[in-house]
């Protein structure tokens, strides 16, 4: 039991993302309401975004912006950069991209839900299936 607790606490960040991921995928599969499915998708995306941001972390490192980098002597600063003292910028860039795609897909998903509601008068999945069969 102590071992298990140690394992959980040592990797509490990963546990948090995986639990969020499970909540998201459960909502996407099991929920009957289309809006709740869309919310599940958003939770799923946030879990992955959080995972990437945590990958970019380095112990003792600061944000990925060079301190005092905008003086006139660019060249003097450039060769004194230690890669371990700045957080990894690459996951930040990728997740900036993913957040924007997330907004775009969320917008399209909401539009589709609205259209479904306009055509079938409901956003409950089983009621929509019944109306399609009629």
């Amino acid at each position: 039991m102590a071992n298990f607790l140690e394992a959980v606490l040592g990797q509490y960040n990963n546990w948090a993302f995986i639990i969020l991921l499970m909540i998201g995928i459960y909502a996407m599969i099991a929920k009957n309401n289309l809006l709740k499915k869309v919310i599940g998708m958003a939770i799923f995306q946030s879990a992955i975004i959080l995972f990437y941001v945590s990958v970019s972390l380095k112990k003792g490192a600061t944000i990925p912006i060079i301190a005092h980098g905008h003086g006139h002597d660019h060249g003097a600063v450039a060769h004194a950069i230690d890669a371990a003292s700045y957080a990894n910028p690459l996951p930040h860039v990728l997740m900036l991209t993913a957040i924007v795609v997330g907004v775009a897909t969320l917008g399209v998903a909401l539009a589709i839900v609205q259209k479904v509601n306009r055509v079938y008068g409901t956003i409950e999945e089983d009621e929509i299936l019944e109306k399609i069969k009629e």
């Binding site: 690459l90 996951p91 991209t97």
Partner: protein, 249 residues
């Protein structure tokens, strides 16, 4: 159905939890993600682009293609929502009952929105222009600027916003942003460089190649800013009014 879903999600969770044992320690500077490519960016981007913010340098310069199509994705999402929801014929005004809450709308809300909106727009421009030196850039500034318009249309109504900012104008500007981005890349081609290699702009701007890359990044960030701002307004206007473009929420 719910039991199957529960089983699937729990099974996925267990597999991932077992896999986390193979991940490097959290915060390890020598982890695979932090060594190969990202080390190159951290050590060289300042020298090559004179932009202190690595994220901006990688986003707008090294991964410029990615960001260009990113902007195109947002533009496509805006068009898609418009095509799904927009109704070509307007319902007659008489059919729509004016909502009761519309009468005597809160004066505090309206006055506050009037004061906040210009501040938000100013701050959005700051975030855009200062993206080279601090967290920020086209996407972030664009979202703030779009939110200021959305705030106005919530405090008043959508009609008020659309009477000042025609739908045609909104779609024109959201396309213009993508065009600015691709245009800056295409001019690099005309100047003899590769697509989106801003260092060839040095011939026009009369600065060194390194400075030209920094200025080119600002140019494409402006394009991203314009697209994101107007697509946010368009998404809100379509979703809030169900494609009617009448009074909104």
């Amino acid at each position: 159905m719910k039991i199957i879903a529960l089983l699937v999600s729990v099974a996925l969770g267990v597999i991932l939890l077992v896999a986390t044992n193979d991940l490097p320690e959290w915060g390890d500077p020598q982890s695979p993600a932090s060594t190969h490519l990202s080390r190159y960016y951290i050590e060289n981007s300042m020298e090559q682009t004179s932009v202190p913010n690595f994220v901006t340098a990688v986003l707008a310069d090294y991964r410029g293609y990615d960001t260009m199509f990113e902007t195109a994705v947002i533009f496509c999402a805006g068009i898609t929502v418009l095509t799904i929801l927009r109704r070509s014929h307007r319902r007659k005004k008489k059919d729509v009952q004016p909502r009761p809450c519309r009468e005597g709308q809160d004066i505090i809300l309206k006055s506050a929105a009037r004061l906040i909106a210009p501040m938000m727009q100013l701050f959005a421009l700051y975030v855009l222009a200062h993206g080279h030196h601090s967290p920020g850039g086209g996407f972030q500034g664009g979202v703030i600027s779009g939110a200021s318009f959305i705030l106005l249309s919530i405090a008043y109504d959508l009609e008020m916003l659309l009477s000042r900012l025609k739908e045609r104008t909104i779609m024109f500007f959201s396309g213009l942003g993508v065009l600015i981005y691709a245009g800056i890349g295409a001019i690099c081609l005309l100047l003899g460089g590769n697509f989106l290699n801003y260092s060839s702009w040095s011939k026009i701007l009369q600065v060194s190649e390194v400075e030209a890359r920094s200025h080119g990044m600002l140019g494409i960030e402006i394009g991203v800013f314009i697209t994101v701002t107007f697509i946010m307004i368009s998404l809100y206007a379509d979703l809030a009014s169900g494609g009617e473009m009448d009074e909104g929420l």
